[in-house]
């Protein structure tokens, strides 16, 4: 009963947030000074098409731009959105935005979540090590490594990986989510190819997030270590292993909340990482759509990134409430 109420509240909150973002981008884009038709026209001219022909082509491509009062357009957009129709792309002349997004979204979501997963798991483990053995060389080097990695900007890591692993040593490919010769499906060849192509970006996500988790977990563990029940456990004579499990479990919970906050950051990082690796996900799409003034695609990409963050937030909240039931009553 309570749980359903909690769930409903979260979902409603998420929907409200999506609505805010939709409204915001809708009006923002109507504010934009540029004219996509003109942009297309000039880029045709730039590529050598004579003026008259370019004009005619553009007229054919964009014969019908949205018109009517802003508020009518707005409700029309909302109505279309309910049918998951995000309009038509400008750069791809009439191809539906939803179609374009669907070809990009899975890659980003897959990589961001895996990257976050690895950085979180590894970071938390290293954080426990750094805290429990904080006076030994192992703990200190773990802290040092984390501090170092935490200070390296994400794009720097990505650049280093790109240089070292795609050109200098040529261990990994870049520029595609999988080998196009393989038919997509749940075949080992396809999964292998996807993994092979995604290793570098995922590594970049994971390593750039790792340091932060280690440091956070370390301080959380240290504060829990000071708590009285740990002392009591020690006095009861519990073994070290059990004590560490005790501590880790309780130190882990506060980190879980920051997990939801870090999602936005990770999706933001997608723009950098995907652009550097030419990995065709949402971030790459967003960046390119800005370059091409393809506002419907830009709007859609932004919306779907935000929606992904919101949905992941809700999932994380639900997961958290399963781990720590107190949260449901609060």
């Amino acid at each position: 009963m309570n749980y359903l109420k909690f769930l409903a509240k979260k979902l409603l909150g998420g929907l409200a947030m999506v609505y805010v973002v939709v409204t915001f981008t809708f009006f923002l884009i109507r504010l934009m000074p540029g004219n996509p038709v003109l942009a297309r026209l000039t880029s045709l001219l730039q590529s050598g098409v004579p003026y008259q022909a370019a004009k005619q082509q553009v007229a054919a491509m964009y014969g019908f731009m949205p018109h009517g009062p802003l508020i009518v357009q707005y409700f029309d957009y909302l109505g279309q959105l309910l049918h998951l129709n995000l309009g038509l792309s400008i750069a791809y002349a009439g191809v539906s935005v939803t179609h374009i997004l669907m070809s990009a979204a899975p890659w980003t979501i897959f990589m961001v979540l895996l990257g976050l997963f690895f950085s979180f798991i590894l970071g938390v483990a290293a954080g426990v090590v750094a805290a429990v053995w904080r006076n030994s060389i192992i703990g200190q080097s773990s802290t040092f490594l984390a501090t170092l990695l935490h200070g390296i900007p994400q794009f720097m890591l990505a650049l280093a990986f790109l240089y070292l692993f795609t050109t200098e040593w040529r261990l990994f490919p870049f520029g595609a989510p999988y080998d196009a010769a393989i038919h997509p499906g749940f075949s080992p060849a396809f999964v292998g190819s996807v993994a092979y192509h995604a290793i570098l970006p995922i590594l970049a996500y994971a390593i750039s997030g790792y340091g932060g988790w280690t440091l956070a977990m370390k301080s959380s563990v240290i504060s829990v270590l000071g708590d009285e029940y740990i002392l009591a456990a020690e006095l009861r004579g519990l073994t070290r292993g059990i004590r560490i499990r005790y501590v880790a479990r309780n130190a882990f919970l506060p980190l879980f909340t920051s997990l939801t906050l870090s999602l936005g950051f990770m999706f933001g990082g997608a723009i950098v990482i995907e652009t550097i690796f030419d990995y065709p996900g949402l971030g790459y799409l967003l960046n390119n759509s800005i370059g091409a003034q393809d506002y419907p695609v830009m709007q859609g990409a932004f919306l779907i990134i935000t929606a992904a963050v919101i949905v992941s937030n809700i999932l994380a909240d639900l997961l958290y409430s399963l781990i720590d039931p107190r949260i449901r009553r609060a």
Binding site: G13, M17, V20, V21, T25, L28, I29, L31, M32, P33, G34, T147, G151, I152, P153, Q154, F155, M156, L159, L162, Y163, T167, L261, L263, G264, F265, F267, G268, G269, I271, V272, T275, G283, L286, N287, I290, Q293, Y295, M298, Q299, A301, F302, I305, T306, V309, I310, N313
Partner: protein, 300 residues
């Protein structure tokens, strides 16, 4: 030591503690902090005076493209034969100024909204927190990219403002929760009982208690903003006309392929190294902040 004052009668000469002296003492207590301070000061000086040392546009020399390090060019030259060191020095102002402004705006928005929400509670609180939730949830970097389409934030002030307004959410939430707990503390009730104004209570009683946290966030936000702005320039999302470290990175990576040659590598690495150094300096100084603001160490 003030407590050793033996003049008991009449109006004693009262000694006030000096905050700056304490801060200075705290900062030089550990060698790491001195190093951090030196790094930060170096870059601040670079930002303040660097552009004065060089002509407004640095000379280029087609005969010196990607020259190796030498006395004339300690960090070598770039794709058009311009001295990399000079670019680093003149480029510091934009980066640091806008990062500082961004941090400043972040902290101002975050603190004011957090304090207001936590102190006022009720409707004000819920409205402010819903707004905060939106800013917390919407990922900052994509938002910046979308905003860049309507807003050419290419001056340090505009860039600082837009970075600030997109990143105050976390701070506001933290300040609010601290304010909520401070609000229940005895001294706030006492102040209310004495009939002191709300403004007084918020600024004089609550704010000093969240100040160390706020200052720490100011430092964090500075490094965070450096990353964000450099990334914006690196990806070429903000139109740019002046030289700064982010522009250098964009030119090095996207335009001139500096990454692929040993001779060009310094051009790519120098701005990266500067970013790392600034971050490093901030991290080193950070642990002094708590001590400076901790009243237990004041007036000693």
């Amino acid at each position: 030591m003030a407590s050793m004052n033996v003049q008991a009668k009449a109006l004693p000469p009262l000694r006030r503690p000096n905050g700056w002296r304490t801060a200075g003492r705290v900062l030089v207590r550990k060698p790491g902090r001195i190093a951090g301070l030196v790094i930060i000061l170096t870059f601040v000086l670079m930002a303040a005076f660097g552009p004065l040392l060089y002509p407004a546009t640095l000379p280029s020399d087609a005969a010196q493209i990607y020259a190796p390090p030498s006395l004339a060019h300690p960090l070598g030259t770039d794709f058009q034969g311009t001295d990399v060191l000079a670019e680093i020095i003149t480029g510091a102002r934009f980066v640091l100024l806008s990062a500082f402004l961004a941090a400043f705006f972040t902290v101002v928005f975050g603190t004011v909204i957090g304090l207001a929400a936590g102190y006022a509670r009720g409707l004000v609180d819920s409205v402010l927190m819903r707004i905060t939730d939106v800013f917390l949830t919407v990922p900052q970097f994509p938002l910046l990219i979308v905003l860049s389409t309507v807003w050419k934030f290419s001056s340090p002030l505009a860039l600082g403002f837009v970075l600030g307004i997109t990143s105050w959410g976390g701070l506001a939430r933290a300040v609010r929760s601290q304010t909520l707990s401070l609000r229940e503390r005895g001294f706030i009730e006492a102040a209310r009982g004495l009939g002191l104004s709300n403004r007084h209570i918020v600024t004089k009683e609550i704010f000093p208690n969240v100040a160390p946290f706020v200052v720490m966030n100011l430092l964090f936000a500075t490094t965070g903003s450096i990353y964000s702005e450099i990334t914006l320039f690196f990806l070429g999302i903000v139109p740019f006309s002046n030289n700064n470290w982010g522009v250098m990175l964009n030119m090095a990576f996207f335009q001139s392929g500096a990454m692929y040659t040993t001779s060009g590598l310094l051009y790519l690495m120098s701005p990266l190294a500067c970013i790392m150094l600034v971050t490093f300096g901030v991290v080193l100084v950070l642990d002094a902040v708590d001590e400076i603001f901790n009243p237990r160490l004041k007036g000693v």
